[in-house]
Amino acid sequence: MMSRWVYIGLAYGLAGGVLVAYLAYLLAALRRSRLHLEDLQRTPHSARSPVEDVA
């Protein structure tokens, strides 16, 4: 039978791993989207920005 601490390590390791992976995904997606938006907004276009509609 596995040591009790192996189960504890498994539970905490799994939860920690998933949470860190989700946070990394969120931050990476946010950074990518912001960069993409900045790229788009750098090129001049018509007057009203959709940022005003959403934000």
């Binding site: 189960y7 539970a11 799994l14 939860a15 997606a29 946010l30 993409h36 018509s46 940022v51």
Partner: protein, 240 residues
């Protein structure tokens, strides 16, 4: 350009996010040290009971997430403002993650305690149903393209799905289950040692801060993506 850094209760959004990030980091570190190293092991279950300092806060966070989905969905159906749909979607995604982790941590605890990874116990089964309802909710959001229709459909699922939460809570009282009875909120007072309760509360607060931090980040992402789509549509219309 209008800033995405909109105030939340009078404070800058980026500042609130950073504050909850710091509270989460400190809270989780303190909760981890207290739960794993300081609080004594349970008299009956032994060391493995330490998994409860993770399992219980994650389960409560999952219920909180789906309560927010339900509330935001109701507000969306009344006001028809897509900002509420965005909040519901963000909370559902976080709730699904916490529900899956709750089941996984419970299963890991169940193996040395009950002698099995899984059993079709009422509490476990209703929790699994909750997970599948909200996975369905996220699938519907991916499948339906028209924003208003997607928001309307998702809101209905989000509200109906939440009915499973009180069922989960009452399942251990309505049916004879392997899962233990409530320890904190129970008739006749709490059945938990003070130090253990403190550790549990510490982790509950830390996970609550984590939920708020993730919500702030996730809704921000949804907002930026929506602006991106609107900008692209505007450019296509302009080019034509």
């Amino acid at each position: 350009m209008m800033s995405l850094d909109r105030p939340i209760f009078g404070f800058r959004r980026s500042m609130v996010t950073r504050l909850f990030g710091l509270l989460t980091t400190g809270g989780l570190a303190a909760g981890l040290v207290t739960g794993l190293l300081i609080v004594p092991p349970d008299a009956i279950q032994g060391e493995v009971q330490r998994i409860m300092y993770l399992h219980v806060p994650m389960a409560w966070n999952a219920y909180l997430s789906f309560a927010v989905v339900c509330a935001c969905s109701v507000v969306y159906l009344i006001r028809r403002d897509l900002a509420w749909d965005r909040r519901a979607a963000a909370s559902a995604e976080i709730g699904v993650m916490f529900t899956a982790l709750t089941i996984a941590a419970g299963s890991i605890w169940g193996r040395p305690t009950w002698g099995t990874w899984w059993t079709w116990d009422a509490r476990l089964t209703t929790t699994a149903i909750l997970l599948f309802i909200y996975i369905g909710y996220l699938v519907v959001r991916q499948v339906v393209e028209e924003p208003e229709k997607r928001a309307r459909l998702a809101a209905v699922i989000g509200i109906i799905g939440f009915l499973d939460v009180p069922l989960i809570r009452l399942s251990v009282q309505w049916w004879r289950t392997l899962h233990q009875q409530p320890t904190v909120f129970r008739v006749g007072g709490m059945m938990i040692d003070r130090f253990m309760l403190f550790t549990l509360l510490l982790n509950l607060i830390a996970f609550g801060c984590l939920y708020l931090y993730l919500m702030l980040k996730r809704t921000e992402l949804e907002m930026v993506r929506e602006i991106l789509v609107a900008e692209q549509v505007r450019r296509i219309a302009h080019d034509e």
